[in-house]
Subunit: 157 residues, 2 copies
């Protein structure tokens, strides 16, 4: 007897990783001197700053799903303007996600958790993390276009 579902854990993991791979390409597409300085529409932040936020929130989410502890990140760690360091931490988290997401207790997705920004289900916390990444990456696409740079294809993951 099968139980059809909207999405299985392994397919959901692939979905998340596909977005992470695309965002990584967007980080790489920026000229290094623009990544942490350029904005197409003040007071919006540079894309590199948004990318650090995505990284820190993603790490918080993975840790929260695994442990039930949702500790607010130290945002000062996201102020580095070193792209190589950002990419190293990005890749390390992608590797952790690949290895550790399958260990998440599925019950966590329906349960309510206390995040630094409010109470929500594990599903809501996780999909918000991915949606926030898509949202800011879409903004990065505008920045790239405004800089005359063709962004990576959205449909490639």
């Amino acid at each position: 007897m099968t139980h059809p579902v909207i999405v299985t854990p392994s397919t959901f993991l692939s979905h998340w990783q596909g977005h992470r791979a695309l965002t990584r390409r967007v980080i790489e597409a920026f000229p290094e001197d623009n990544l942490f300085t350029y904005t197409a529409a003040p007071p919006m932040r540079p894309f590199g700053t948004m990318a650090w936020e995505i990284h820190q929130v993603s790490e918080l989410t993975l840790n929260g799903l695994l442990t039930g502890e949702w500790t607010e990140p130290d945002w000062r760690e996201g102020t580095s303007t070193d792209r190589a360091r950002l990419l190293r931490e990005w890749d390390a988290l992608s590797a952790r996600l690949e290895a550790e997401f399958p260990n998440v207790d599925l019950n966590f997705f329906e349960q309510t958790h206390r995040l630094p920004w409010g109470e929500m289900s594990g599903w809501a916390a996780t999909i918000y993390t991915i949606d926030n990444e898509i949202h800011h990456r879409g903004q990065g696409y505008v920045y790239l276009r405004a800089l005359g740079i063709e962004p990576p294809a959205f449909y490639e993951r």
Copy 2:
């Protein structure tokens, strides 16, 4: 015996509708004379044009999930520059989604479907539709900021 899942159909529907409600507020936030003409970064399209695309792809997706037929939209229908008409069609589709999404056969999400732009699972087709909406709406946020307008809060759905 319960079967924990990443997301239930009703929670997924709420997720989708929350995004539709936010995108609707972004459509409304534009000055009417900018919605179908303004771009912050040529050759990017005006937000109103993106919103019609979101509408037509969302309609295609709901129809496909219900019937197994994924017919390419007539894109000429998405060239209207009448915001009131866009919002009427938007609301009509939200009402259909609310009423008809619960009728989708859950097996459709895992099955492979032939869309106008390739073969993919029902899950992939559906989440791509929502992700594409988030992506373009994020771009609309930049347009609004560039026009000096505060966009609706991303976290409110």
